[in-house]
Symmetry: C4
Subunit: 377 residues, 4 copies
Amino acid sequence: MRDLVEIGMGRTARRAYELDDIEIIPSRRTRSSKDVSTTWQIDAYRFDIPLITHPTDAIVSPGTAVAVGELGGLGVLNAEGLWARHGDVDEALFRLVQATEDSDDPAAAVKVLQELHAAPLRMDLIAEAVKQIRESGVTVAVRVSPQRAAELTPDLLAAGVEILVVQGTIISAEHVSRDGEPLNLKSFIADLDIPVIAGGVGDYRTAMHLMRTGAAGVIVGYGYTPGVTTTDSVLGIGVPMATAIADAAAARRDYLDETGGRYVHVIADGGVTTSGDVAKSIACGADAVMLGEPLAAATEAPGQGLYWTASSAHPSVPRSLVAEAVDQELDLRKLLFGPSADPRGVTNLFGALKRAMAKTGYSDLKEFQKVGLTIRG
Amino acid sequence: MRDLVEIGMGRTARRAYELDDIEIIPSRRTRSSKDVSTTWQIDAYRFDIPLITHPTDAIVSPGTAVAVGELGGLGVLNAEGLWARHGDVDEALFRLVQATEDSDDPAAAVKVLQELHAAPLRMDLIAEAVKQIRESGVTVAVRVSPQRAAELTPDLLAAGVEILVVQGTIISAEHVSRDGEPLNLKSFIADLDIPVIAGGVGDYRTAMHLMRTGAAGVIVGYGYTPGVTTTDSVLGIGVPMATAIADAAAARRDYLDETGGRYVHVIADGGVTTSGDVAKSIACGADAVMLGEPLAAATEAPGQGLYWTASSAHPSVPRSLVAEAVDQELDLRKLLFGPSADPRGVTNLFGALKRAMAKTGYSDLKEFQKVGLTIRG
Amino acid sequence: MRDLVEIGMGRTARRAYELDDIEIIPSRRTRSSKDVSTTWQIDAYRFDIPLITHPTDAIVSPGTAVAVGELGGLGVLNAEGLWARHGDVDEALFRLVQATEDSDDPAAAVKVLQELHAAPLRMDLIAEAVKQIRESGVTVAVRVSPQRAAELTPDLLAAGVEILVVQGTIISAEHVSRDGEPLNLKSFIADLDIPVIAGGVGDYRTAMHLMRTGAAGVIVGYGYTPGVTTTDSVLGIGVPMATAIADAAAARRDYLDETGGRYVHVIADGGVTTSGDVAKSIACGADAVMLGEPLAAATEAPGQGLYWTASSAHPSVPRSLVAEAVDQELDLRKLLFGPSADPRGVTNLFGALKRAMAKTGYSDLKEFQKVGLTIRG
Amino acid sequence: MRDLVEIGMGRTARRAYELDDIEIIPSRRTRSSKDVSTTWQIDAYRFDIPLITHPTDAIVSPGTAVAVGELGGLGVLNAEGLWARHGDVDEALFRLVQATEDSDDPAAAVKVLQELHAAPLRMDLIAEAVKQIRESGVTVAVRVSPQRAAELTPDLLAAGVEILVVQGTIISAEHVSRDGEPLNLKSFIADLDIPVIAGGVGDYRTAMHLMRTGAAGVIVGYGYTPGVTTTDSVLGIGVPMATAIADAAAARRDYLDETGGRYVHVIADGGVTTSGDVAKSIACGADAVMLGEPLAAATEAPGQGLYWTASSAHPSVPRSLVAEAVDQELDLRKLLFGPSADPRGVTNLFGALKRAMAKTGYSDLKEFQKVGLTIRG
C-alpha cells in the first residue's frame, strides 16, 4: 500500500490514478435495476440523478439549463460566459464554428473564444438569462470565478440564483496577492443565504480547507477531458481523478467527523467521457459528477457539437482545445436515460449507472461508493 | 506479493491482470506433442479438447453445435437467441449483415440485433433446434439466462438437453429483487437431473457461492473480446481474466477441500483471441475455455464472419459492438487442429495448445495449470 | 520507496522516470501570476527567465543569441558548429534544407551535417561571431567540446566570451585515455577567470564530480528530444530526466553542505517540448532549463524550422535525426512571453511557467523546486 | 526487490523484462572508443566482435558465413535449411519473394517456406556448403536441430565443421518422449571433439542443466523479433530477454563456482534490432549476441531483404512471419563497422557498441556486463 515513489535521490512523488486505470469488479449479490435509486440532495435541493453540468457555453445555454433541470439534474450557467457578454449568442457561436471549419490551426478557434470573452460582462444579459431559468421552475445555478464572485453575486442573487458555483480551474481557500483584493471565501459564504459549491481542487488538504469555508459542495478537478484540455502540457499540472476524488472523499469523512455531522458533497469534474466513467467516479467517492463533453452530442447543446472548457478562453494561457464537432443526433432525455442502441457508453448514461449499481448489488449512490475496484497490473 | 493499492486516502483497489499481461515461461524438461493429452470431462461427458463455444448466434447454429461436438468440444446453442425466435434465421442474419454494410454507425447493427431479439421466444423452434443437435449424437448443451431459466428448462429437458448453461453477463448466487421472483439457483439445480454450468463471475467469493449451489462448472468472465465488448465503457465494470481465472481456481481448490472431493470445473469466458490465449487461460487455472471470436472465421460460423456477444442485443444498455466481418476461409477442423500456415495464432488452436504443453513438459491439462508464468515488468 | 528492481537473478536496475511520467499537483494556497518571479543568477550574471539555449545551430545564430539575451535568457553559440566553420552559413543551411526536401531517408540530411561539420574550424569566424554578440551588450556564452576546450578557449576569451559551456553528449570529470591528452576539467576551470558550465551528466556521482571541478553549473542530460534524438537506439544509453535532475539536485545539496555554501546550478537539458515540461524540470530540482526544439518554431531560428542536436553531426555514430521542419510563425518574444492563443503549451513558455507557479502558490524558482508531484499509477 | 506478483489468489508470476524496458546509464568516468576491445573467445576460437548469426536462411548463405567470419564474427549456417535441401537456392528464394509480392496474406509466404522445407535433406549439399566455408579459412559453424543432431553430426564433422550449434526454439537438457529416441545431450557432447553451443533456453534452471551437459555456450531466447516472431500469440510462451539473459548469466556464475572454473558462454538470441540492443544484451550479462533481422539489410544477405526465423517453416505450428522486404543498401562491413550516417542505430552496429562502452568507461565486454542500468518507471 506504499504510495510514495522516490523519483530521484531525496525527491518523492505520489502514485496517482486516473479513472481509466481502475475498473469496478462485481463481488457480491446482484440486484434489479428497478430497485436502484440514483437520487441525491444538496442543501434543500433534491435531484434524480447525480448530474451537474460543467459550466461551459459549449453545452449550457439558459435553455439547456432548464432541460437538464427538468430531467432531474442541475444545469449551471456560466455567469461570465457568452450569455453574459453577447446579446446575440447565436452569432457569436457562428463565428466560432466558422473558425473551426476554416482552419486546422487549433489557435484559430481559441482566438475567437478569447475575443468573444473580451467583450464586457453585461449584468442585464445575465439577469435575463437567470430569469429564463427561474421561470421554468427548475433549480437555478450559475458559475462565477473567484476573481469576480464578490462583484457579481449581489445582482445574481437579486435575479434569483439558488445555488452559486464559485469555480476556477484551480482554486484554494487561501489565495495570496500582494495587490488587489483576493476573495475571502469563508466570509463570502458566511454572508450568503444560498448554498455555495466551490472548486476545483486536486488534493485532500485543499478540499478540507474549502470544506471549512462553509461550502455545501466541493468540486474535484478542473474538467479534464482527454484530447481537449491541455493543462498538463501548458502548466505541467495534473489532477489524476480517481485519486483526487478518493482524497476529497477522505476529507469529507474527516470533516464530517470534525464538525460532528456536516456533510459536504464531493463533485467530480473531469475524466468522464462515458457512462462507465460516471460509475467509476461515484465508486471512487463522488456524490455527483460534472458532465461536459458527453453532453456536446445532445441536440439541445448550444455548441453545435463543438466542445471546449472555460480555460480555452484564457486571454494569455489557454488550456483547452476546441474539439472537433460531433454529430448531435440524440436529445438530452435519450442521452441521459436511453434506451440506447450504441454500445460505446455514450448514451443512456444514467440508465447504465443504474445497471452498474444493480450488477454489483447496490441500491443507492452512497453505498455504491464502497464497491470493489481493481487496478490494471 | 502485495496486491492492494491505495488509489486515494483510505480507498484501495486490487491489482488485477489480463491474459495479455502474462506469458508462459518454459522452465523444465520438454516433451513430444504426441505425448500430450488435452482431454477433460464434466460429469459423465468427456471431451477431447477443452473448448466450449461462447453462446452467441454469431458462431453457434444447431449445425455448428454438432460440428464442434464431433470435433471433440462442446457447442452451446443460445436458447434465447435467433434460433429460438426466428423461423428463418438466414433472413434475420441477412438483415444484420446489410446493416453493417450500409452504415458506419455502430448503433445501426446493434439496433437490428435489438429488434431481432424483441421477437417472442418460440418453444417449437428451440425444441426443433435441440432435436437436430441430439440426433447427431453429440452432447447437447443450451444456454438460458438466469431470468428465464425456470420458465424454459422443463421444455428444454423434454427436448433432450444434456447440459444446461445458465449464463448472464454477470450473475450471482444471491440475486436480490423487491418484486418479481429471482432464480434460486441452488434449489433450481437440486431439482435437475442434468449438470448445470453457471456464470459468469469475476471474483473468488461469487465463484465460491456458485459452486455451493451445486453447479458442475462455473464460468469466469463475460466474454470479454478486445475491440468488441464495451462493458468497461458502459458500466465501468471489468473482469481482468488472468486474475479472475486464478481466483476462481482458488475457489475450486477451497471448495474441493470443503466438500471433501467435489471438483467444480472453471470455464474461462473472455480474453481469448489466439491459441496463445487458450494456453494462458489453462495456465491460470481454467479447466476449459469458452471460445467466441476466433471461431467467427470458420466457414461453418453462421454469422458470415461477423462477431458479437449476447450483450449486444440488450434492449437498453447494449455492451458489445458487432465486429467487422472477417474472411471465412477455413473449416472448423482446420481452425481447431490445423495444420496451419498462418503464424498469427488464429488457426490450429488446439494443436498449438498441445505444442505449448509439450514445450513446457506437461502431459495433461490439470498439470499444465502449474506452468511457470511471467508478468511484463 | 524501493527503487531497485531485480531484472534477473543477481542483476538489478534502478527505476527511473521521465518528465512525462510526473505531474505537478496543486496542494496549497494559490497566488497571482503578477507576484511570481522567475529570475535566477549564475556567478555575476542575472537572468529574467531560467532559459539557456541548447547549443545547436538549428536555433542559435549570433543573432538569436543576442535576441535571447535581450529577452532575459542566455543564448549559447556552438563554437564548433556551422558559424565556426562556414563563412556563408546561409548557403550551408540551404544545402541541409534541400537534403530534407529531396529525400525521405533520414541519413540524407545527417550526411550533409556530417559534411558541413567536416570543414575546418576557423578562429576568425568564431571571433567575429562572438564579437557580434558582445557588441549587443548581452551576456556572451559559447559552447566547446571537452576535446577541443583547451585548444579553443584562449581565443574565445580574447574575443570576449563571458560564460564557457563545456558540453559533450555524455561527459565525466575523469576521462581515461591511453593516448592523447584528455581534458583535466579541474585545472582547466581553475585557470579560467570566467564561470564554466559543464555537462551533460546523468547521475548523482558524475554530477558531484563535475561540481568538485569548480563548475558554476552542471548540465543534466544530453538534449533528449522525443522523436529526434536516438541515443537509446544507437547506444542503449538513456538518461530519464526527472530522475536525473532530482539526482543532480541532491548532489547540489550535498556539495553545498560539503563546501559550506558553494551553490552549483543544475541545468536540465532534455525532455522539454512544452511549457509544462519547463515547469516540471524546475519542479524536479533544476535551476534553469536548456531549450532546444521548442525554439525551432521561432521566426528568428536559423534552421528554418528544422531541428537537430549536436550529436546529429557525429562523423561515424550520429544520434539525432533532423526533425521535419515546423512552421515559423511567431517571434521569440511571443514564443517566450505570449500572449498565446495556442493551447498546446508551445507558446508563452515562461508566462505559462509563472502561471504554474502561481497556481501552486510559489513566488520564486527556488521554492518551486519543492512543489508536490504525482506519478501516474 | 520483490519479483513475484500474485496474479490471483495463490497463483504467482515473476516480473520479467525485455531489453526495451531497460536503459544503460553512464555513471563513472568516460573513455576513448579507441581504448575499447570487443574481442571474445569460445574454446580455441577468438572473435573480434561478439556477433553470431541467427541461423536463418534469410541472412546466412555459405557466402555470408564466410563474410561474417572475415569481419570478425561467427556465421552459422542452418544444416537443415534451404542450402541443405535445394540445389538451386536462388530459385527457391525466388518463389518466396514472389509469394510475398503476390499476396497480403501472411500465410502465403509461410506456406512456401513450409513446402521448401518439406524437401528432403541432402547430405551432399550440406557437405558442399560446409566445404565452401571451410576453404575460406574462417571458423566453420552449422546449426542442427536436437531432433536430427545425432543423425547429421557424423557427416558434418567429416565435412569440417568446427563448432556445432544445437538449436531448437525451446530446448531442454532432459527431453521426455514415450516413443522415439530423444537426444541425450550430455553423452552426445561428451562423444564429440568440437565445442557445442546449445539452446535456446529461457530460465536459470534450464540454462544450468544445459551447462552441465558440457556445452561450451548456451543460447538464451528463441530469436524473438518484434513484429516477426509470434510465439506469444501462438503458444502463449515468451522469454523476456533482459531477464532471461541475466538469469543465464547467474547460472554461468554458479556453474563456474560449482565446477571450479568452467566458463560457459551466454549467447543472447532475441530482441536485438539496433546497436543499442546489442549493448543492452551485453550489459545484462551476455557474452555474445545472435543477430538476425538487422543483417537482412546487408547487400550480402541471401533473403533479398526479407526476414524470417527458422520457426516460420514449422509444418503445422509456424511461429514467425516473413517480414516485408527492406532495402539492401549497405554491405556487411558498413553495417557492422560504419561509418554511419543513419541515426537510427541500424548501421555501424559494433562501432556503436564500442562507443557505448567508452561513454560508460569500460574497456572490455566482461567488465561492461556490470554497467549501470535503469528501468523506466
